[in-house]
């Protein structure tokens, strides 16, 4: 017996089940089979994408030290991402099957190409950076990585938006902005944490823009979700992660303001923003699971729509 076999098969002590929504309160859609590697991937992938973009911008701006830090960030993120992505496959040996088809209807298919292009470029750029071999070509790959960076940071929002998980699907329009903003704040955070003292101002600025963006995007997300679907984000672990993310984000933002005066404050701010990013992703992920496990999210959303637009699925 595993828990996968029977969703929430616990017996309710009250015999008569009318008080539970739907069919004995059982999920209507399946909660994701994904493990925590996936929100981790959202975090590392998102950060890596924006790291690459900022790194290349700094390269152009001739701030090689920060560029190098950001390239390392992109590389670290890529490495962890690749691990998460493959490890979460139930048949990891069949990873390559994704590269045999190109499927525009599948954000995961598109994502794999984005990730491959991005990750490949970052790897080559890093190799060149570390070995000093073929520097100019390395720079070109940095550029390609930078080009794919924003896509890398944002496509995962489409990936989860394009599911039936209510907390994700009904926030699908604002999710990309949230993911973009979190990527910015965490890439900035990376720069603050590991960047060269005094030469990480653009990281600080990115962190500020990202951090503020997160607050705005969250607001928008909640609006889009509406009060009923928003509840998923205010339940159990989703709430805990979400609240922590918000607090850390605010604190990180505030602390980062002192980064230039007190370098160590910059590093603390960076760490806080990274942590906020992790919590943010886990919060979104948990909210998704919660909303999928409780059928009332689906029922309420669809009933609302029926009230608005009429019933299409059933007729009598």
């Amino acid at each position: 017996m595993t828990s996968t076999a029977h969703g929430n098969g616990q017996i309710n002590a009250q015999t008569l089940h009318e008080d539970r929504p739907g069919y004995y309160g059982r999920p209507i859609v399946k909660p994701p089979e994904w493990t925590d590697l996936i929100p981790t991937y959202f975090f590392t992938g998102g950060m890596a994408g924006t790291c690459a973009a900022l790194g290349f911008a700094e390269r152009i701006a001739k701030n090689d030290a920060l560029a190098r830090t950001m390239l390392f960030g992109a590389a670290a993120g890529t490495a962890i991402s690749a691990y998460c992505l493959i490890a979460d496959l139930k048949r990891p040996e069949r990873f390559v099957n994704m590269l045999r088809v190109f499927k525009p209807t599948s954000p995961m298919s598109m994502g794999v190409y984005i990730f491959s292009a991005f990750g490949g470029s970052v790897t080559l750029a890093l190799a060149s950076e570390l070995t000093g071999v073929l520097r100019p070509i390395g720079r070109i790959f940095e550029g390609i990585a930078a080009l794919f960076g924003p896509a890398m940071s944002c496509y995962t929002a489409v990936l989860i938006g394009d599911t039936v998980v209510p907390a994700w699907h009904y926030g699908r329009e604002s999710m990309p902005a949230l993911f973009a903003a979190t990527s910015a704040s965490t890439a900035g955070g990376w720069g603050l944490l590991f960047g060269p003292s005094g030469r990480s101002n653009s990281a600080q600025r990115l962190a500020l823009i990202g951090g503020a963006g997160v607050m705005l995007a969250l607001e928008k997300l909640h609006q889009e979700l509406g009060p009923r679907q928003k509840e998923a984000y205010q339940t159990r672990q989703a709430k805990m992660f979400g609240d922590t993310a918000k607090m850390l984000n605010m604190a990180g933002l505030a602390t980062s303001l002192f980064a230039r005066k007190v370098p160590v404050m910059g590093r603390i701010a960076g760490a806080m923003l990274l942590a906020a990013g992790v919590c943010e992703r886990f919060g979104v992920f948990r909210a998704g699971c919660i909303s999928a496990e409780d059928p009332s999210y689906i029922i309420d959303a669809q009933r609302e729509r029926i009230a608005r637009e009429g019933n299409r699925a059933s007729s009598n």
Partner: protein, 875 residues
């Protein structure tokens, strides 16, 4: 069924239910237990028939019924009595049918007295012998015989009676004293009317816990849907048979169907739903102790000295049972072959004899008492499936040797190291002397053979694969065992009874590496052959002069034309809806029996809509959709000579050709040991007193008060309140009987993984039971545990102002297999129907508590307390 109509089989077939205008399923949960046949009920419903389910629980059958009536388990006779009363009081019987085809007009002997006069007893009761004699139940001027063997059983008391001088006096095919106006106060119709007068809707409601309107709705629906143009059907199964008055429940339905003219007609009848794949087959070619193949009675040690004497005392003069000599001699020829000659009474002497009740429960007690030393346990699992399973296991543990043939090591083979008694320490493995031989059996897919299903239909199954390993078919096992025994007898020379073994024909061709006997040849022998050795076409060709051999007269024709008729598989799409070319049904491939009744006395269909079999004046013979259950050329107007014998004595307008008088018996003068009419008694254990008579329970029921089979105190006794709830048991679609074939299969086990009990929310509240948690259920015999299923499908029963709760549970679980659980049968007692010796599994008493049962020694202590409260001796 046998006593009412002449044959102990369903009168119709399941496909015919689609023609019904009203179907009452009562005493059966057909959708769950006969789901495939149930499609025809659904078909009828879709064609507009009214479909009623009467069952204590709202089941999957009730779910698709138009009306569900919940009644207290064990009170069906009262409910059906209410319907009979409604028919008689409102004059709704199908008069033309009743007057011509039933014994309603027959005048009874003057000394017959009813339960209404004798407070719960019929005349003829002998307190000292604990049984009835039948002489007062006879027709005036004529003694009835009761279909041979067909009698649903017999007590030795009735047996001794077989000697009495019989007065068979049909006058031109009719009993001598009749009143076709049905007015004579002692005619069966009037006796019936008086007998059932008390079963008013209000009284029935107070006994059964139904509402009077519910009874009326059912009664009206049946009456509205019966008559010339419409027919109603009953379907029942073991919730009618498994009572201390089971036969009488079925009799009640027979009375209704005869009164409403629903027997022998399409869409009518009584569909007896049998259980195991071939349970009908196992009574036709019996595994029962008291009959021989084809319902020929088993000779009795004291009663039957010679073949002649046997035929005279057991056969009838008139009707088809008048041919008992032909059936018996042909059977003896099939068994003893050339050794059976006219001079030696065809080896009648060699047949085993019975000396009383040797039914399964008696035999189990015989084991405990040391009288039965060895046991073949094949195709059954008494340690789980039989009533009072604890006693069953103790019986097995008293044996010297036990052979279990099954697919796996079932509870009945593992009892000596894995049982509740071992768990509690009441029995110890080292102290059990039984030597157990577990032998693997071949499944039906691994051997050729036939099943006789619930509608008397024989269907052949072909072997699909060889049995694995040492697994062997039943046929192989007994055939080769027989050969070994024969060899042993030959070797030892003349032992007493040696001829009984030596003379047996034992020569089926053997096939293949494992030397499997040829099952087709067994069927051919059952079918029988004539003096040239050619397969017989029908039982009408049997002779009493030793020139024919036939292993089971009712199956004669199954191998007609040297072809295995039971293997025919012509799709119903390619033939008429009756599908006569699918398999073969006894007798003579008839699908609805007594179908002469589907035509009026003149031989014309009662109505075009309900035409089935009729007399074709032009051709001068009976014809129709089915094989006519009548002599083909016997005219409807045929009037027998007085003194005519056998079938010649049956008038052209009498459809029940197996009966001495050719009539359907509303009143049964002979053949049922607990009364000629059904009458209401409480189950053996009941929480309430009988509202109708002082006599609480069926006086003739078989009781076995003895250690390990004590009974819960009766409601009238001082401790009557100790077991306040009604206990009843049943099946689930997902499992099969004692579970040996389903708890061992993952795909079935996962569908119902645990033993549970079904209770109403009210009882749950009363006893503090929680849904999905555990409950402990106990009687004075045992204590078990089950998960609690609280459901509105079960309701409290309101009786006579009192609320009675019930605990229902499936009986499929045991300690072996993939999913395990306690056995409901541990709780049950052994008290039997006196006719057929079937246990009462529906309608006992119990108590229930929240939580799991005590274990180990604590269980023994718990039981001691329970028994002390009931003032019983220590176990």
């Amino acid at each position: 069924m046998g006593t009412s109509f002449g044959r102990g089989g369903a009168t119709t077939f399941q496909q015919d239910l689609q023609n019904s205008d009203c179907i009452v399923i009562m005493g059966s949960n057909m959708a769950e237990n006969h789901p495939v046949g149930f499609q025809w009920v659904m078909e009828a419903r879709e064609r507009g028939a009214k479909f009623i389910h009467v069952d204590p629980r709202f089941t999957r059958t009730s779910a698709v019924a138009d009306l569900h009536v919940p009644l207290r388990p064990g009170t069906d006779i009262a409910f059906l009595g209410g319907i009979i009363n409604y028919i008689l009081e409102n004059d709704r019987a199908f008069k033309e049918y009743v007057v011509n085809y039933t014994n309603a007009p027959v005048i009874l002997k003057d000394d017959f007295e009813d339960t209404e006069d004798l407070n719960g007893f019929f005349s003829g009761w002998h307190e000292d012998k604990n049984g009835y004699t039948f002489e007062t139940w006879q027709y005036k001027g004529m003694d009835l015989h009761g279909a041979a063997g067909q009698r649903e059983g017999e007590s030795s008391l009735a047996k001794m009676e077989a000697f009495r001088q019989r007065e068979d006096a049909l006058k031109h095919g009719e009993p001598p004293n009749m009143d076709k106006t049905l007015q004579h106060p002692r005619c069966v119709y009037q006796v019936l009317k008086r007998h059932y007068a008390r079963y008013t809707p209000e009284t029935v409601a107070r006994i059964c816990g139904v509402k009077p309107e519910q009874l009326l709705e059912v009664a009206q629906a049946m009456c509205d849907n019966s008559g010339r143009d419409r027919t109603s059907a009953f379907a029942y199964s073991v919730a009618w048979t498994q009572h201390t008055f089971g036969v009488q429940m079925i009799r009640s339905a027979a009375i209704i169907q005869l009164l409403l003219g629903n027997i022998g007609r399409p869409g009518g009848g009584i569909m007896a739903l049998r259980g195991h794949a071939s349970i009908q087959g196992s009574t036709d070619i019996p595994t029962l102790f008291n009959i021989l193949p084809g319902y020929i009675p088993m000779p009795h040690a004291k009663a039957h000295h010679s073949l002649k004497h046997f035929i005279e005392s057991e056969g009838a003069k008139t009707g088809y049972w008048g041919n008992l000599d032909k059936y018996t001699v042909s059977l003896l020829k099939a068994w003893y072959g050339e050794h059976a000659t006219d001079e030696n009474d065809y080896c009648f002497d060699l047949l085993p004899r019975i000396s009383g009740d040797h039914s399964t429960y008696r035999s189990m007690m015989g084991m405990i008492d040391g009288k039965v030393k060895g046991f073949f346990c094949c195709g059954e699992n008494p340690a789980v499936g039989s009533a009072n399973a604890g006693l069953q296991r103790r019986a097995l543990a008293s044996l010297e040797w036990l052979v279990v043939r099954d697919f796996c090591e079932i509870e009945s083979a593992a009892f000596w190291y894995d049982s509740p008694e071992i768990e509690s320490g009441a029995l110890k493995t080292e102290e059990i002397p039984t030597e157990v031989f577990w032998m693997p059996a071949a499944a039906h897919t691994e051997k050729d053979g036939s099943f006789t299903n619930t509608q008397r239909l024989l269907q052949w199954h072909h072997k699909a694969m060889d049995p694995p390993g040492d697994a062997r078919s039943e046929l192989w096992f007994y055939y080769h065992l027989g050969k070994k025994i024969k060899a042993l007898v030959d070797e030892r020379g003349d032992e007493p009874h040696a001829d009984a073994i030596k003379f047996l024909t034992w020569d089926y061709p053997e096939k293949g590496a494992i030397r499997e006997p040829d099952a087709h040849m067994v069927l051919r022998e059952i079918n029988g052959w004539d003096e040239n050795g050619d397969a017989l076409p029908a039982y009408t060709k049997l002779k009493a002069d030793g020139s024919t051999a036939c292993g089971c007269w009712i199956y004669c024709g199954a191998y007609k034309g040297e072809e295995n008729q039971t293997a025919r598989r012509k799709s119903r799409m390619e033939q008429s809806w009756v599908a006569p070319e699918w398999g073969w049904s006894w007798p003579d491939n008839r699908r609805i029996i007594y179908n002469r009744a589907s035509a009026d006395p003149d031989g014309k269909p009662w109505s075009q809509r309900k035409a089935y079999v009729w007399f074709d004046e032009v051709k001068g013979q009976w014809t129709g959709y089915d094989t006519p259950d009548f002599e083909k050329t016997k005219k409807p107007s045929y009037t027998p000579e007085t003194g005519a014998q056998r079938e010649d004595a049956i008038a052209g307008w009498h459809p029940f050709i197996m009966q001495d008088d050719g009539l359907g018996w509303l009143f049964v003068p002979n053949g049922i040991v607990d009364g000629p009419l059904p009458t209401y008694y409480e189950p053996h254990e009941s929480p309430v007193k009988n509202l109708l008579y002082e006599q609480q329970s069926n006086p003739a029921r078989q009781k076995f008060p003895r250690p390990f089979n004590e009974y819960n105190p009766s409601p009238s006794s001082e401790h009557g309140g100790q077991f306040p709830f009604v206990l009843y048991t049943y099946r689930l679609t997902e499992h099969h009987t004692a579970g040996g074939m389903s708890r061992t299969v993952p795909h079935l086990s996962e569908l119902q993984p645990e033993m549970f009990c079904e209770v109403s929310p009210e009882l749950a509240k009363l006893r503090g039971l929680e849904h999905g948690k555990w409950a402990t259920i106990y009687t004075v015999r045992a204590v078990i545990e089950a998960r609690v299923m609280i459901t509105n499908r079960v309701q409290p029963i309101r009786l006579n102002g009192k609320t009675v709760h019930s605990v229902g549970m499936p009986y499929h679980w045991g300690r072996r297999g993939i999913v395990t659980g306690d056995s409901a049968n541990d709780l049950l007692h052994i008290a039997l129907d006196p006719n057929v010796h079937i246990q009462e599994t529906k309608g006992l008493t119990c108590d229930i508590l929240p939580g799991r049962r005590p274990r180990g020694k604590a269980m023994l202590e718990f039981m001691e307390e329970v028994r002390a409260k009931a003032h019983l001796e220590k176990a």
